[in-house]
Symmetry: C2
Subunit: 373 residues, 2 copies
């Protein structure tokens, strides 16, 4: 897919008037469609959905996901888990190999005691030992899923034998094995988007088989990542943890994981400066981030102006290259920008403007914003 | 300067024990030295200091800057101005060409009425007209500085004649000209760091001369940016607005703008995963950002482990390439990371841990975090 394709074809409903820019705007009808699309596709395969809440960090959006049929939610940090636990979410999976030392040990124990169904990731014998020690005085044992590396080369054990070793260490530390999980993050590249799901199915299946051969019970085989949400949901996989799919973004659309109308979030920005060959928007790195996959041109797609490229972002300035013959917004005009990667954009703001299908507006908090540890 | 140089030689005082990572740690002695270094250099040239608060977004740090001799402070958004105004800061310059429409017009008027000395940037006749209309019913006129482009190609008028035109439009809209300002942002490149300050002196001086020739009063000639803070503080320049210099970061050190001991902020992170050729830290894009100048290798410098490179950051994972023979931290070890660019890192957190010279710790709020519009 070319850079031009990465900018063309994205739409967003008309922005409400009078926004105080920069402002994150969420289109509720698109969010509902995205939630229904994932849930429907997984229901058809009898695969449970456990969406990752790091994308929206919102109690209300998570509530919509559970109401649509999600088994529970996935979180990436203790801080996120605490926010959702405090609001009564009773089935949380912390898909992260946390090191349960010092303050984190106490926080983990409190979560284990408070949340009826709570599990965490583990991928080393050392971390398993710490987890066991942290919850030793908890009334209930802690469930864990062993993380498998499907070729992403981030966290996770690389071999089925390695998975068995970690699982045995976890058992030895008093933990209960729930299953295995992986994140096919290597799908975030154009040349791997097609194969990463197959990698995930194969490596998760091999790890699950190895654990069972070693006499361990494996009830959950959980795959992650939005680009692989369809392809990895085969074989032994019985749980899906896609996160970004609820909001969508430019990157997911270019990767082929979402339809263009799947982009449910835009950053509204005002044109504050106009020059011959460039414009400047009041959305910079503190509104759009500098997240830019190598296959994307610029720092977000400006809806209605596909020929413009946000070439640079400083803290409060987005500098837009505007070819002389290209359609361009006027000074003071408010434009909608589809962000490259929506997750870190949401983490910058305390609230979002949610536009309902009838045009009514509400301000929703980003409840777990900044809870990144 | 090479990539290796970009990583070597950076130090940071020993981290306090028991941090709940990721956590931003501020070394107070280094901050005090940085404030003193800028103020001393400008005092020696009889140049007023008006540091940019977007770096720290902290009332206490801004108070230290004013106590050390700063004339007032610079802000980049109405939101930042509101936070500092509410705390009693009485001399604010909003160095941004805001478009004073809708909610922003009301906010601007309230600031004009509340802050004894308040000025904003302007760089187009259109924006000047809006500013004038916004404060038409204010008891006091609004002061403006005309923004000059010193070659940065962001905002600002390109020619002395253009500056005169904008100044006359501002006068016509009922605004009072205080002077001219610029931001030498093109200094954030290795090949321009030396010349950008000279560009700024020349263009600001030419614009000031043109305004005076046109019969306009120019009391303030204000230069910005940390890389040019010394070189641009000559000629007619009589005010300096460096921001990053208060905290320092890896980029400023590599650009030659700060000594290595000028890095006063580190992100503390825990090693959560160890593999043959890589480690994973619990500081990812939501702790370090993806801000990386092209002349820097990786997403921050790991103090004490100069051969390690943070090759990739996902939301909660920092993936570190670790050559087989390189010194490396152990699983569970807490490391200090000097961020590439400190400003957006501070905007991610609600508070920082401040370590005083006697080793005592305090948690200080990032008062204007997220106030980016």
């Amino acid at each position: 897919m070319t850079d031009v394709a990465a900018r063309e074809g994205l739409t967003f409903p008309a922005l409400p008037a009078g926004l105080d820019t920069p402002r994150v705007v969420v289109d509720l009808a698109r969010v509902e469609a995205n939630i229904g699309r994932l849930q429907g596709a997984m229901d058809a395969r009898s695969i449970a959905v456990r969406p990752h809440a790091k994308t929206h960090k919102s109690l209300r959006i998570a509530g919509m996901q559970v109401a649509a049929g999600a088994r529970g939610i996935t979180v990436g940090t203790l801080g996120e888990a605490e926010v959702f636990a405090a609001a009564g979410f009773d089935d949380l999976f912390l898909a992260y190999p946390i090191w349960a030392d010092g303050p984190k040990a106490a926080r983990l124990r409190a979560l284990r005691d408070a949340v009826p169904r709570f599990a965490v990731g583990v991928e080393s014998a050392g971390a398993a030992k710490r987890l066991g020690a942290a919850v030793a005085e908890s009334a209930r044992p802690l469930e864990v899923l062993v993380e498998i590396d499907p070729g992403n080369r981030r966290t996770g054990v690389a071999t089925p034998n390695g998975a068995v070793e970690v699982a045995r260490a976890a058992q030895g530390a008093g933990l209960v094995i729930r299953g295995v999980f992986s994140h096919g993050g290597h799908a975030y590249h154009l040349d791997a988007a097609g194969s990463a799901g197959a990698d995930e199915v194969r490596t998760l299946g091999a790890a699950a088989d190895a654990l069972r051969s070693a006499g361990l019970e494996v009830s959950v085989v959980s795959a992650g990542s939005t680009p692989t949400m369809i392809t990895s949901s085969t074989g032994q996989v019985n749980e899906q943890r896609a996160g970004t799919s609820v909001y969508g973004d430019r990157q997911q659309w270019v990767l082929g994981a979402m339809p263009p109308e799947g982009c449910a979030v835009a950053v509204a920005a005002t044109v504050v400066s106009v020059h011959d060959e460039r414009l400047v928007l009041d959305a910079g790195a503190k509104a759009l981030t500098k997240d830019r996959a190598e296959f994307l041109a610029g720092h977000g797609a400006i809806v209605s102006y596909p020929e413009l490229v946000i070439e640079r972002v400083n803290d409060y300035h987005g500098i837009v290259a505007a070819p002389p013959d290209a359609a361009r917004p006027r000074l003071g005009e408010v434009v909608a920008i589809i962000p490259n990667h929506v997750c870190p954009v949401i983490d910058l703001v305390d609230s979002v403007i949610v536009v309902a299908a009838d045009g009514s507006l509400e301000e929703w908090p980003v409840d777990a914003r900044g809870r990144n540890g």
